[in-house]
C-alpha cells in the first residue's frame, strides 16, 4: 500500500500529494513549532518542507519510512532557519520589529486548564523555551522530537540517521544542560 502510494507521489499524482500533506501537516507544523516557537514561522517552514518533499520525492530511496524522511526534512529546515535567523539577528534588531510571538505558547496550553494554572504553565514553558534555545543543534533536535512529537529514541535515531545509543547520550546531555540553565535562572531570580 505504502509502496504504491510512493509510486503515485513519484509520478507527480496531485491527489496523492494532497493526501500526503493532509496526513502529515499537523506533525510537521508541530515539529517546526517546537524548534522556532512562533506559529507564523512554523507554518511557513512546514510549507517549505512539503515543497522540498514535492521536489525531491523522486530521490526518496525508501530505505526509511516516508514519515521518518519527512521528519528529517522538517528538522533540517528548522535548524537551517534558526542558523539563518541568528546570522541575520544583527540586522533584524536594527531594521525589524521583534518577531517573538508570546501568544504562540497559548497553542500549547490545554483548554481545560484554569486561568491560574494556564498562566503558571505558560511562564514555565517560556523559561524552558529559553533554555531549549541554548542547546546545541543535535541535542535540540533530539529533545524537540521526543517532547513535542512523542517520538521514541529509536525513531529519533532514524530521523537523525544516528544510533540508538547516540540518541540516549544526546537526550542525557540535553537534560543536564537544561537543568544547568534552569538552576542558574532560578538562583538569579531568588
Amino acid at each position: 500500500m505504502d509502496r504504491e502510494f510512493i509510486q503515485q507521489l513519484k509520478s507527480g499524482d496531485e491527489p496523492a500529494f494532497k493526501t500526503l500533506v493532509e496526513r502529515h501537516k499537523d506533525n510537521v507544523v508541530n515539529t517546526c513549532f517546537g524548534f522556532v516557537n512562533n506559529y507564523h514561522d512554523a507554518d511557513d517552514l512546514a510549507q517549505d518542507v512539503f515543497i522540498e518533499v514535492f521536489r525531491s520525492i523522486g530521490s526518496f530511496n525508501e530505505d526509511s519510512k516516508l514519515s521518518t524522511w519527512i521528519y528529517r526534512i522538517a528538522v533540517n529546515k528548522s535548524l537551517d532557519f534558526i542558523r539563518k535567523t541568528k546570522r541575520k539577528k544583527r540586522w533584524s534588531e536594527l531594521f525589524r520589529v521583534d518577531s517573538s510571538d508570546d501568544k504562540s505558547i497559548d497553542n500549547w496550553i490545554p483548554h481545560s486548564q484554569t486561568p491560574d494554572l494556564a498562566m503558571e504553565q505558560k511562564e514555565r514553558i517560556n523559561i524552558l523555551k529559553q533554555a531549549i534555545d541554548k542547546l546545541p543543534p543535535n541535542q535540540k533536535a533530539a529533545f524537540t522530537l521526543h517532547k513535542y512529537e512523542d517520538l521514541s529514541y529509536q525513531e529519533i535515531a532514524e530521523v537523525l540517521t544516528t544510533t540508538l545509543s547516540s540518541v540516549e547520550s544526546l537526550m542525557h546531555r540535553a537534560k543536564m544542560n537544561l537543568k544547568k540553565f534552569l538552576k542558574s535562572y532560578y538562583e538569579n531570580k531568588l
Binding site: D26, R87, I125
Partner: protein, 111 residues
Amino acid sequence: METNKNLNPEIEKTLASLNNIQKTKADPFFYTRLTAKLEREQEPRVWHWFFDIPILRPALMLLFAVINLFTLMNWMQPKTENNSISSTTEQFIEEYELNETNYTLLVYNEE
C-alpha cells in the same frame, strides 16, 4: 546545598511543563496556501537573489536616506532662480538687440 534542595522541585516542575502540552495544528487552508506557494516558487525570479544578499538591504536604505537628505538640502536652499531667469532674459535682449527702439524700427520696416 539548602538552596539546591529548594530549587530542585522548581526545576523538575519546569522540565515537566512540556509533558501535557497539546499539539499545534496546521490551519484548515494549509494545502490551498501550499499549492499557491508552490506555483509562485516555480515562476522564474531573476532579481530575487539580488535582494537576498543581507548587506544590500541596509545599504539600499542608507542610499535612499542620503538621496532624501540631498534633495531636502537642495530644496531648503534660498531660491535664486528668478534672478538667474531675469539675467538670462537681459542677455537675450542684448544679444539680439531687442530693445524698444529696435523693435519699433523692425515693425516700421515691415509695414
